[in-house]
């Protein structure tokens, strides 16, 4: 066996009360495609931060080609030959591709331009070197990140959840690139929680659970179910069967809504139409950055439509085009936003004060004054009914873990007893336990006659939850797909805008 390129021995990192990594051992061989597998919160990102020098371990050692190194900064890691492709890219939107590259790679602009083109053909990473990054699609941005890393001639390339931003077709392209790279001797650390992908591309896998290594395997020797069991430490919960229920009245009716983006870096919505009835879950699929946040703002009322705008936007039969979020809530609408800290909740305020944010109409305000008792009572109920793990109602929202805060926010919105519920990325960054609980709640709610609209990047989640799906691509919404009669590939084609499929 060749000497490992990178070895970790007993690496431990503690943040406050959390052991993000404890005693992690890892060996990465030259030319290997090595998966780090684990669910949200298992410590994958922390481990990568330690390897890339963003943070330093509290205990344990990192060896590079057999020699011990203190990786104190990303600059030091890059000097060793470590490159990293971040999940949320570290690109500069107001600069061009070649300018972005030049910040990391020495050389004149002309030189870099030709090298970018050359690398593009060599590894299937075509991108216009002179384009501004804000004008690129998410997939193209990922290519730029990879190119930027490759130009620095890395020995080890770390990719953090690289496929989460890609439609299924592009995933194959990326894998092809990675295989070609590995063949040239570059080691690849591939962080993911998607089991099938890991089985198809990785030569090794290290499984993390609760910050500890629970397995070192060759992924091809196991099936997805076995890997999942290693990853979460018990059997995968079965999704609740989505039995058909009788459709209720039309509760959300959006027809031919267009909204040009005021933000030059934003996406304009064009001729968007969708309908959600009681007892139905409609899923909106699509790669992020295709107008999800704009669509969410239009439906929630954070962005109101101009009075003279064409199209229809009604909730519970009432035209709400020019109404704000508070007015829409008055009709029985509730909304769980994408950004938990800073949008769904105010991090510096207590949970009680965060209850007032959307639930103030539940008797928490009288003659302009806040009735603290009511708010506390509401919050305690919400914490108890939704299994929110927190010291109490007076805890600051910012001190809760992502999953617990999401349970609190969803719980708060459900206590508004909505007829129409809208969720944007409901389980993003939430651990499997909480995610399963959330999905179960949503299906129960649908069975009870609530109309639910879900925007999600996770196709699997949408297939599990929704009765119908529509796909958002470049600000346009596809026609309706009936989930039970649709394959992921159909959705995938719509995600890259290949076809405007309907019914």
């Amino acid at each position: 066996m060749a000497e490992p390129l990178l070895s970790l021995r007993g690496v431990t990192k503690i943040y406050g009360p959390v052991h993000a990594n404890s005693g992690v051992d890892l060996d990465v061989e030259p030319g290997a495609i090595h998966a780090i597998l684990g669910e949200n919160g298992a410590g994958k990102s922390t481990l990568m931060k330690l390897i890339y020098g963003v943070d330093t371990p509290d205990e344990g050692d990192i060896y590079w080609r057999g020699e011990r190194f203190e990786v104190t900064s990303p600059a030091a890691a890059r000097k060793l030959g470590v490159g990293m492709v971040f999940q949320h890219f570290s690109l500069f939107e107001t600069l061009t591709v070649v300018e972005n590259v030049s910040l990391l790679v020495p050389g004149s602009k002309r030189e870099l331009t030709s090298r970018i083109k050359q690398l593009g053909t060599e590894f299937g990473l075509e991108v216009d070197p002179l384009a501004y990054v804000h004008a690129l699609s998410v997939g193209e941005r990922q290519r730029v990140e990879i190119i930027r890393c490759l130009l620095a001639d890395p020995k080890l390339l770390i990719l953090d959840e690289p496929t989460s931003v890609l439609p299924p077709q592009s995933v194959e392209l990326l894998f092809d690139t990675l295989r070609r790279l590995a063949a040239t001797g570059v080691s690849i650390l591939f962080i993911s929680h998607k089991l099938e992908e890991i089985r198809s591309i990785c030569t090794h896998a290290t499984i993390l659970r609760g910050g500890k290594v629970t397995g070192n395997v060759t992924p091809k020797d196991f099936d997805a179910h076995q890997l999942a069991t290693m990853m979460i430490g018990r059997n995968m919960p079965d999704p609740a069967p989505a039995k058909e229920v009788e459709k209720g009245p039309l509760l959300l009716d959006v027809a031919h809504v267009s909204l040009p983006s005021e933000d030059p870096f934003g996406v304009s919505l064009e001729d968007v139409s969708l309908e959600v009835r009681g007892g139905e879950i409609l899923g909106i699929a699509g790669v992020s950055g295709n107008g999800q946040s704009e669509l969410a703002a239009v439906i929630s009322g954070e962005t109101m439509l101009p009075r003279a705008a064409d199209g229809r936007l009604s909730m519970m039969g009432t035209d709400v085009r020019t109404m704000g979020p508070a007015a829409r809530r008055g009709f029985g609408f509730a909304f769980v936003p994408e950004d938990r800290l800073g949008q769904g909740a105010v991090p510096q305020l207590s949970l009680t004060k965060n209850s007032i944010l959307t639930a103030h109409s539940k008797g928490m305000v009288a003659r302009g004054m806040i009735r603290g008792g009511r708010a506390t009572e509401f919050t305690r109920t919400c914490i108890a009914d939704n299994d929110v793990r927190t010291p109490g109602a007076s805890a600051e929202a910012g001190s809760l873990s992502g999953g617990n805060l999401q349970k609190f926010i969803i719980g708060r919105e459900l206590m508004l007893e909505p007829k129409l519920l809208f969720l944007n990325q409901p389980t993003w960054g939430v651990d499997i336990g909480a995610a399963t609980a959330i999905r179960k709640r949503l299906i129960e709610l649908r069975n009870a006659g609530c109309a639910i609209l879900v925007i999600s990047e996770e196709l699997e989640e949408l297939f599990e939850l929704s009765d119908h799906m529509q796909v958002l691509h470049d600000g346009r919404l596809s026609g309706r797909f009936k989930t039970s009669e649709t394959e992921p590939e159909d959705i995938g084609r719509a995600m890259i805008g290949a076809e405007e499929a309907a019914q």
């Binding site: 769904g344 105010v346 510096q348 103030h360 302009g368 600051e396």
Partner: protein, 366 residues
């Protein structure tokens, strides 16, 4: 490889209340020490200054009453500003709003110098409040409609307000019998605020300021409107999500700040000054910014910081007379106090962690 060991700032799980309370005192101590060094540097006896600034104001009935007199406008303006600052609406043009309050209030006695009656001073206060409010509404309009930075606009308007005051005092409002001095007529008796403490200049505006403090407490701590402003300041996206109007928050913040400053300006001309003069603008509007921050933007904290700042004003005057300190020393002290305080409160939500181990040796893998 040697590692360079700087302490790291780490977020606390929860805001630290003890540090929040201790911060102003630590800042006061730090500012006092550094300023005493500065006084010694120009050959002024630091202990004489210390005595004159912090002790002397409390050694006589009269000088203590002067502290109370100064505290009134500072308290009023700072309460108004703090409401805006909590909502991250930075009205730093209180000086101009104060001047406009003084001008509006003076309009009655200037145009009706013989007026009398119990209605006189209350209507002047109301008119002054309106003046400050209107001046601040320009800033609010510019911010809401034109997206212009309220810091710059409100500040520029203060410079303009000062020129407006100069124009009036040198031109149309100049006292014809005033030997060409840039000041208005002396106000009639009924235009003056009733005195609170006999034998001093302390008047009922102090009571008004304390009442405003109580109202501010209810507004910020208990009212739904105050809650909406607080959310807007802490997390604008959460306010948008909840459906709290951001434009509304800007209007409310600036109008409250302007009204409070205008009221303070009116109380100044109808109180200790008794006429409209250039010297009514002595930087209360800027000092109140410091008062607001030093009080932790909390209505109760502001009551204390207003008295502290008033003490520094009176003490600074004393130090000028008794210790020969330049009056600008008060501004230096104010600036360093605010700076020290802003540094101190960063530790409410963060703490320093010193690196535990600094291993420098390089070990080969066994």
């Amino acid at each position: 490889m040697t590692t360079f060991a700087l302490p790291k700032l780490v977020r606390r799980e929860k805001a630290s209340l003890p540090i929040l309370v201790a911060a102003p005192f630590v800042a006061l101590l730090a500012a006092a020490l550094s300023n005493l060094v500065l006084y010694a540097a120009i050959g002024v006896d630091p202990f004489a200054v210390f005595y004159a600034m912090l002790i002397e104001p409390f050694t006589s009935y009269f000088s203590f009453s002067e502290v109370l007199l100064k505290a009134g406008p500072l308290l009023l303006i700072a309460q108004g500003l703090a409401i805006g600052f909590r909502a991250k609406v930075f009205n730093i043009g209180a000086e101009g709003q104060f001047v406009l309050g003084a001008i509006f209030a003076s309009a009655i006695p200037v145009y009706y110098p013989m007026a009398s009656g119990a209605w006189l001073w209350p209507s002047m206060l109301i008119l002054g409040t309106l003046g400050g409010l209107l001046w601040a509404s320009i800033t609010a309009f510019w911010r809401v409609r034109l997206n212009a930075n309220e810091i710059l606009v409100s500040l520029m308007l203060s410079f303009v307000a000062l020129q407006l005051l100069n124009y009036l005092l040198l031109g149309p409002w100049k006292d014809p019998a005033g030997f060409n001095f840039p000041q208005s007529v002396m106000f009639p008796f009924d235009a003056l605020l009733p005195t609170l403490l006999p034998g001093t200049r302390v008047n009922i505006s102090l009571l008004i300021a304390l009442a405003v403090a109580v109202a501010a407490w209810f507004f910020t701590q208990r009212s739904f409107a105050g809650y909406r402003l607080e959310v807007g300041g802490l997390a604008p996206n959460a306010a948008r999500y909840a459906g709290f109007s951001q434009n509304g928050a800007i209007w409310i913040s600036l109008l409250i700040g302007g009204a409070a400053a205008g009221l303070a300006g009116a109380a100044e001309v109808s109180g200790p000054v008794g006429q409209l003069q250039r010297s009514i603008s002595t930087g209360y509007g800027y000092a109140a910014i410091i008062v607001a921050y030093l009080g932790g933007l909390h209505p109760i904290g502001i009551v204390f910081s207003a008295f502290l700042m008033a003490t520094l004003y009176i003490g600074g005057d004393n130090a000028m007379v008794s210790a020969g300190l330049p009056i600008a020393a008060v501004n230096v002290f104010q600036g360093s106090l605010l700076l020290a305080y802003l540094v101190a409160i960063t530790f409410v939500r963060r703490r320093l962690v010193w690196p535990q181990k600094a291993t420098t040796e390089m070990v080969a893998q066994p």
